[in-house]
C-alpha cells in the first residue's frame, strides 16, 4: 500500500512538473485529487484495510494529498509567473512615441500685467474701477481742467465719433482719467481706486498705436500728500519689477489735471539694442502723476480745502514690454499665434502677492 502511494507520488509529481500551462496543471489536479481522481479512488479503498493499519495508511494518504496540493500550488505559482512574464513581454509599447497632444492656450501680456498691477495695488487698498471707452468731452477733458481751447488737448490727438449722444459730441477716451471723474461723481470720498483699460489716440508709428492700455490711479482723502504719492509709486514699481534696488526719480512736469505734477523715471541700462530695468545710468519715464488739481476736485463737488490726494496714469503695454522684454508694441495687437505662444502666459499663472507675481 505504502509502496503504491510512493509510486503514485512519483508519477503525479512528474506530471505536475511536466504540465506546460495552468490548464494542463488543472487537469493533473483533477486526475489526482478530483472526485474520481486516483488518490480519491485510493482513499475509498482504505476501508478494506485491516483496522490496525488504517491510521498509518490514513496518515500516509493525508501526507500524500498535502504533498500533491503543495506541489500543484508551487507549480501554479511558477506557471503564473511565467505566463505574466510572457504577457508583459507581449505588452511592450514604444514609449518614445509622442504622447497624445493637449493644447494649452495663453493669456495676453496686457491681461497678465494688468492683473499683476491689480494685485499690487490691492495690497495698498485700491479697488478696481471702470468706465466706458466712448466718452464725452466733459469727462475726458473739461472736468479734468482741460477747457476746449487748452493747448494740451492737442497732445491728445483725439478720435471723434460721427455719432453724438443727446447732442453731445462723442470721442474715444484719450486716457483713463475720465474714470476718476466718474468714480468721484458716483460715490462719496475717500477714494482708492485704479482703473485699467483701453485708451485711444490718433497716433500710429513705430512706438505708438492708435489703441493702447493705461491704468489710472486715484487716492483721495483728508491727508494724502506728495510723500504718499512717492511712497505708493516707489513701492509699486519695486513690487512690479520684482527688484528692490530699482532707482527712481520724480521730476516736476505738467498735466492739466494735477498740481503739483510729476513724472516718475526709473533707472535703466541701455545698450546693444536692449533695455534693462534697474541699475545703469539712464532714466526711463514710466508714469505721470501729481496731486489732483483743485479744479478737478471742484468739478466733482469736492472741497479742495478738505479733500486732497494724488492721481497717476501709466501705460500698461509699455510696462509689459519693459518687464518682459517684448520689443515691439505693434505686435501686441496682431493676434499672432507664434507671438502668443512665446510671450503669452500659462492660464494657471495667476499673479498674486502671496504666491509671487511671476514665475
Amino acid at each position: 500500500m505504502i509502496d503504491q502511494l510512493d509510486t503514485l507520488r512519483t508519477e503525479i509529481k512528474a506530471r505536475i512538473d511536466e504540465a506546460p500551462n495552468l490548464r494542463a496543471l488543472e487537469t493533473v489536479r483533477v486526475t489526482a485529487l478530483g472526485r474520481k481522481g486516483r488518490i480519491t479512488e485510493l482513499v475509498k479503498s482504505l476501508g478494506q484495510l485491516p483496522s490496525e493499519e488504517r491510521p498509518r495508511a490514513g496518515q500516509a494518504f493525508n501526507a500524500l494529498k498535502n504533498d500533491i496540493e503543495g506541489m500543484i500550488d508551487g507549480r501554479k505559482a511558477q506557471l503564473a509567473d511565467r505566463e505574466l512574464g510572457q504577457r508583459l513581454d507581449e505588452e511592450w509599447v514604444d514609449v518614445t512615441l509622442p504622447a497624445r497632444p493637449s493644447s494649452q492656450g495663453s493669456i495676453h501680456p496686457v491681461t497678465q500685467v494688468t492683473e499683476e498691477i491689480i494685485a499690487i495695488f490691492a495690497e495698498m487698498g485700491f479697488a478696481v474701477a471702470e468706465g466706458p471707452d466712448i466718452e464725452d468731452d466733459y469727462h475726458n477733458f473739461e472736468a479734468l481742467n482741460l477747457p476746449p481751447e487748452h493747448p494740451a488737448r492737442q497732445m491728445h490727438d483725439t478720435f471723434y465719433l460721427e455719432a453724438e449722444h443727446n447732442g453731445v459730441p462723442l470721442l474715444l477716451r484719450t486716457h483713463t482719467s475720465p474714470v476718476q471723474i466718474r468714480t468721484m461723481k458716483m460715490q462719496p470720498p475717500p477714494y482708492r481706486i485704479i482703473a485699467p483699460g483701453r485708451t485711444y489716440r490718433r497716433d500710429s508709428d513705430m512706438t505708438h498705436t492708435p489703441m493702447f492700455h493705461q491704468v489710472e490711479g486715484l487716492m483721495i482723502d483728508r491727508r494724502t500728500h506728495m510723500g504718499h504719492l512717492k511712497g505708493c509709486l516707489i513701492d509699486f514699481v519695486r513690487a512690479f519689477f520684482e527688484r528692490d534696488d530699482i532707482p527712481v526719480r520724480f521730476r516736476p512736469s505738467y498735466f492739466p489735471f494735477t498740481e503739483p505734477s510729476a513724472e516718475m523715471d526709473i533707472g535703466c541700462k541701455r545698450g546693444g539694442g536692449e533695455l534693462i530695468v534697474g541699475g545703469g545710468s539712464d532714466w526711463l519715464e514710466i508714469l505721470g502723476c501729481g496731486m489732483v488739481h483743485p479744479k478737478v476736485l471742484e468739478a466733482v463737488d469736492l472741497d479742495p480745502s478738505e479733500w486732497q490726494g494724488f492721481a497717476f496714469g501709466m501705460g500698461i503695454d509699455r510696462a509689459a514690454m519693459l518687464k518682459y522684454g517684448i520689443p515691439d508694441l505693434r505686435t501686441f495687437f496682431e493676434g499672432d499665434l507664434a507671438w502668443s505662444r512665446h510671450y503669452g502666459f500659462a492660464p494657471l499663472d495667476i499673479p498674486s502677492i502671496h504666491g509671487g507675481l511671476s514665475r
Binding site: H108, I118, P151, M155, T224, R251, M291, P294, G335, S340
Partner: protein, 799 residues
C-alpha cells in the same frame, strides 16, 4: 528747446558744470533730453604753425612739413595741395582719433619719410564738407589754441523738453531764471534800455478789430530802422544759431531768431521799402491768401489775425511773415515788429494752416506782455550794432493789459499737499527769485505773479513752484497702508468672473488676443452692425468703425496666421464691443474662434477639422466657468448673422439668447480669405445671470446613491431633421424619478436606415435612492420611455 552752455551763461553767472546744470534743470521740471558734447571729439586737436613745407623726395603730390605745435615740432607728411610754409592749421597728434573715420592716428613712414601726426581738413574733423585741402586759419590764432575754440564749436548743447505750461522757458532767459531761483548762480540781464530815436517814425499802425475781437492783437509796436546793411550775421551769432539747429540766413533774420530763442520774444522784420502805405492789424477776409516766407501760399479765413498794408495781407500774426515784404541782402530800411497776439487764435490758425514755427510755439503758449517794449529796445540795439543804421521813434498801437494775478498763499498748504516743511524766509526767497512780488499778510503771504508766468493761478501752483525749487527728490516717501490688516476683495463679481472666464478658455487651448476696438465698416456690417459707429477722423479706412462684434478682428487675425502657415489654432478676445455709441451700449464680449484641424496630426488620433461641437463645448465651458447655469440652458438651432445657418446654434436661458456658436458662414470666410473651416462662439458677459451674493459658502450635502443603477440601451428611428434635444426631453420626462441620466452613444443614418430618417442610440441609467430596482420596474420604465418617445417625437424603436 535747445541751448548751449555759453549762451546760457550770458544770462546766468555760474561756475556749475554742464552735468550739474543738466541735473538741476531736470529736477526743476525742465527735462533734459540730451546733453550733446559738441567738440568733445576735437579735444586733442589744436592750432599749429607750418614752419616749413617742402617737396617729398619720393612723391610728387606729397609734402614734408615741420609743424610747430604746443608740444614741440613734428615732421608731418601731408598730401593737401594747400599745405605751405607759414600757414596755420589744425594739428592732430599721434594717438588722437580722427572724427570722420574713427581711426587712431599712428606714426607712419610714408614713401620713406616718417610722419608724426596730421594736419586736418574740415571734413576729417566733421566740421564742414570742405575736403579740398587742410583747414587754413587766420594768423592771429596762437599755437596750441584748442581747435574747438578756433572752429567756433559752440557747446555743449542742452536739449530740453519744455512742458506747454512753461511759456517763459521757451527763452533762455526763463531757463536761467529758474536755475538762479533754485540757487544755481545769479541772473544777468540784457540791455533793454531805450535806444534814442533819430529821424521820423515809420508807417502808421492801426488795430482794426470788431468789438469783441480786440484780443486778437492788443498791442503792436513798429519801429523803423534806416540805413541798415543786411549781410551775413557775425560768426558768433551764426555759430550759436547753428548749434541749436537754426539755419543762419541774414543778419536781420538771424537777429529775430536770436531774440525768439534768447528772450522768448518773437519778432518780425519787414523790408520797409516794400511796404505800401500804413500797417493795419485785422482779421483776414475770406478768400485772402498769403505767400509766406516758407514759399507756400496759404488760404486764410476770417478767424486769422493778419498784418496788412495797402497791397493786402503781408504777414500772419504770430506765425509767419510774408514773402512780398521779406528782408533780403538789398534791404536798407526795416520795420521791426514787436507785438502781442492772442494765444488761442494763434494756435487755431497754426493748426488750421499746418504751420509750425518758432513764433507760433511761443505766441500760442503766451508771451510776457510787459516785455514788448524791452524786447523792442534790445532788438533795435542788436540791429544797430550788427547792421548799422539809425532807429526812428517807435509807433505804438494798442496797450498792454495787466495780466498779473494776486494770490493769498496760506503757508500751511505746502506741508499739507507735499509733506515739505520750509521756513517762511526760504519760501519768500524762492518766490521772489522767480519774480513774484511777495508781501507778508497776516501769517501768510500775499503774492503777485510775474507777468511771464501765465501758468500760475492757484495756491496749488505756488505749492508746485516751491516743491520743485526745493526738489521733489527731497520729499520723503510715506508708505500707503491699509487701515485693516487683511485686505478685502477688490474685484467686483463681474471683474472676477471675467478673470476666471479668461483663464478657463485659455486652458481649453485658446490664445488670448488683444485686437483693435476698431474694424472695417464692411466687416462691421457682417456682424451685428447694420449701421456701424464710424469715427469722424480715423487714421485709415481699416480702423474707421467701432467693432460691433469681436469676431471680425479675430477672423482677420486667423487669416494672418493662416497666411503665415499657422494652419490651425484657437484665439479668443474678451474685451468691449460696441452696439451703439450711447451709454450701456458698450458690452464686455467674449469671442473665440478655432480654425483648421482640431489637433495636430498625430499617430494615434484620426485627424479631423474643427466643428460646431468643439465650440459648443467651449461656450458651455465658459458658462460653467462663469458660474452660469450650464445645466439649465436650452440649445436652439441656427445662430444667424455671421454663422452658418445649418451648423450653428444658440444657447438660451428661457427666451433669452445668452451665447451663440457654430461654423462661420462660408460667405464671410471668403471675405476674409480664409480657406479652411472656422468655428466660433461669442457671448456678452452682461447677458449671463448675475452671481447673487451668498451669505453662506457651504455646499449642499453630498447625495448618496447606495443602490446599484441599471443601464438600458434603446435605438430609436426619428426624422432626420428632428433635434435630438426633443427626443431627450421626451425620454427624460418618461419617469423623472427613476431616470438619472440619458446619454446618446450613437447617431446613424445611411445604409440600413430608410432615407429621411436617422437612428439614435440612447443609454438610459435608472436608479433609485430607496432600493434596488426590480426587472419589472425597469421594464415598466422602458415601456414608458418608448411610448413617450413615440408620442412626442414620433420615434420608433428599432427592432
Amino acid at each position: 528747446m535747445k541751448l548751449t552752455l555759453p549762451w546760457l551763461k550770458e544770462h546766468l553767472e555760474t561756475e556749475a558744470t554742464v552735468e550739474e546744470i543738466a541735473e538741476r534743470l531736470t529736477s526743476l521740471g525742465l527735462e533734459v533730453e540730451e546733453v550733446i558734447e559738441r567738440g568733445e571729439a576735437l579735444a586733442d586737436f589744436s592750432v599749429a604753425y607750418v614752419r616749413d613745407a617742402r617737396q617729398h623726395p619720393n612723391a610728387d603730390r606729397l609734402r614734408v612739413c615741420d609743424v610747430e605745435t604746443k608740444d614741440g615740432v613734428f615732421q608731418v607728411v601731408c598730401g593737401a595741395p594747400n599745405a605751405r610754409t607759414g600757414m596755420k592749421g589744425v594739428f592732430a597728434p599721434e594717438g588722437s582719433v580722427i572724427p570722420a573715420t574713427g581711426d587712431v592716428l599712428k606714426a607712419a613712414t610714408i614713401r620713406g619719410v616718417e610722419s608724426h601726426g596730421m594736419l586736418c581738413s574740415a571734413r576729417e574733423l566733421q566740421v564742414g564738407e570742405d575736403d579740398d585741402g587742410i583747414i587754413e586759419l587766420p594768423d592771429h590764432w596762437q599755437i596750441g589754441t584748442p581747435a574747438t575754440e578756433v572752429l567756433g564749436i559752440e557747446g555743449p548743447v542742452i536739449d530740453l523738453s519744455i512742458t506747454p505750461d512753461r511759456a517763459d522757458c521757451f527763452g533762455i532767459l526763463g531757463i536761467a531764471r529758474d536755475l538762479a531761483a533754485s540757487g544755481m548762480g545769479s541772473l544777468k540781464f540784457r540791455d533793454t534800455s531805450a535806444v534814442p530815436a533819430s529821424g521820423p517814425s515809420g508807417p502808421d499802425i492801426r488795430l482794426d478789430f470788431l468789438a469783441g475781437c480786440e484780443a486778437a492783437c492788443p498791442l503792436f509796436v513798429g519801429r523803423i530802422i534806416r540805413g541798415v546793411k543786411n549781410g551775413s550775421s557775425p560768426v558768433w551769432l551764426q555759430r550759436r544759431l547753428k548749434a541749436v539747429g537754426v539755419r543762419p540766413i541774414s543778419a536781420l533774420v538771424d537777429i529775430t531768431n536770436f531774440c525768439t530763442l534768447d528772450l522768448a520774444r518773437p519778432l518780425h522784420v519787414f523790408d520797409a521799402a516794400k511796404l505800401e502805405g500804413g500797417i493795419v492789424l485785422r482779421l483776414a477776409r475770406a478768400s485772402e491768401t498769403l505767400e509766406a516766407l516758407d514759399g507756400k501760399t496759404y488760404k486764410l479765413d476770417g478767424e486769422m489775425t493778419v498784418i496788412a498794408d495797402d497791397s493786402g495781407v503781408i504777414s500772419l500774426g504770430g506765425i509767419m511773415g510774408g514773402e512780398s515784404t521779406g528782408c533780403t541782402e538789398a534791404t536798407t530800411e526795416v520795420l521791426l515788429e514787436v507785438a502781442l497776439f492772442d494765444p488761442l487764435r494763434t494756435a487755431m490758425t497754426g493748426r488750421k494752416l499746418g504751420i509750425e514755427s518758432d513764433a507760433r510755439t511761443r505766441f500760442e503758449r503766451g508771451l510776457d506782455p510787459s516785455f514788448v517794449m524791452p524786447g523792442m529796445e534790445y532788438a533795435t540795439r542788436l540791429i544797430l550794432e550788427l547792421c548799422g543804421g539809425e532807429a526812428g521813434e517807435p509807433v505804438i498801437a494798442g496797450a498792454v493789459s495787466d495780466n498779473r494775478r494776486e494770490i493769498d498763499f496760506d503757508l500751511a498748504q505746502l506741508p499739507r499737499l507735499t509733506g515739505i516743511e520750509l521756513d517762511g524766509a526760504t519760501i519768500r526767497n524762492y518766490l521772489s527769485a522767480l519774480g513774484f512780488v511777495v508781501q507778508p499778510r497776516d501769517s501768510n503771504l500775499h503774492l503777485t505773479t510775474p507777468t511771464w508766468r501765465h501758468d500760475v493761478s492757484t495756491t496749488a501752483c505756488i505749492v508746485e513752484e516751491l516743491a520743485r525749487l526745493h526738489g521733489y527728490d527731497r520729499i520723503p516717501p510715506v508708505p500707503v497702508t491699509r487701515t485693516e490688516a487683511v485686505g478685502s476683495t477688490v474685484l467686483s463679481s463681474e471683474q472676477r468672473r471675467r478673470a476666471i472666464v479668461r483663464r478657463a478658455i485659455a486652458d481649453r487651448g485658446f490664445h488670448e488676443a488683444v485686437t483693435w476696438s476698431f474694424t472695417r465698416p464692411e466687416w462691421a456690417r457682417f456682424f451685428d452692425g447694420a449701421s456701424p459707429i464710424l469715427l469722424r477722423n480715423p487714421i485709415n479706412a481699416e480702423q474707421s468703425a467701432m467693432r460691433p462684434s469681436n469676431l471680425a478682428n479675430l477672423l482677420a487675425a486667423a487669416a494672418n496666421n493662416f497666411a503665415k502657415r499657422e494652419l490651425d489654432g484657437a484665439i479668443f478676445e474678451l474685451a468691449p464691443r460696441f452696439m451703439g455709441a450711447g451709454p450701456g451700449e458698450q458690452r464686455m464680449s467674449l469671442a473665440g474662434i478655432r480654425f483648421g484641424e482640431a489637433s495636430r496630426r498625430h499617430w494615434q488620433l484620426a485627424s479631423r477639422l474643427v466643428d460646431v461641437f468643439d465650440v459648443k463645448a467651449d461656450a458651455l465651458a465658459v458658462l460653467d466657468a462663469a458660474g452660469g447655469p450650464a445645466d439649465k440652458v436650452q440649445i436652439a438651432s441656427g445662430a444667424g448673422g455671421a454663422y452658418h445657418p445649418g451648423r450653428s446654434g444658440e444657447i438660451k436661458l428661457g427666451q433669452k439668447t445668452i451665447a451663440r456658436f457654430g461654423e462661420i458662414h462660408p460667405r464671410i470666410l471668403a471675405a476674409f480669405d480664409l480657406d479652411t473651416t472656422v468655428v466660433a462662439f461669442d457671448l456678452d458677459l452682461e447677458d449671463l445671470p448675475k452671481n447673487r451674493g451668498k451669505t453662506s459658502r457651504a455646499k449642499p450635502p453630498l447625495e448618496h446613491w447606495p443602490y446599484p443603477p441599471s443601464d438600458r440601451d434603446f435605438a430609436f428611428l426619428v426624422e432626420r431633421n428632428l433635434p435630438v434635444a426633443d427626443l431627450l426631453r421626451a425620454v427624460r420626462r418618461a419617469d423623472k424619478k427613476l431616470i438619472r441620466d440619458v446619454d446618446i452613444f450613437d447617431v446613424y443614418e445611411g445604409k440600413g436606415i430608410e432615407p429621411g430618417k436617422k437612428s439614435i442610440a440612447l443609454s438610459v441609467r435608472l436608479q433609485s435612492k430607496q432600493r434596488t430596482l426590480t426587472d419589472e420596474e425597469i421594464e415598466t420604465v422602458a415601456e414608458r420611455i418608448i411610448e413617450a418617445a413615440g408620442k412626442s417625437v414620433q420615434a420608433v424603436l428599432r427592432g
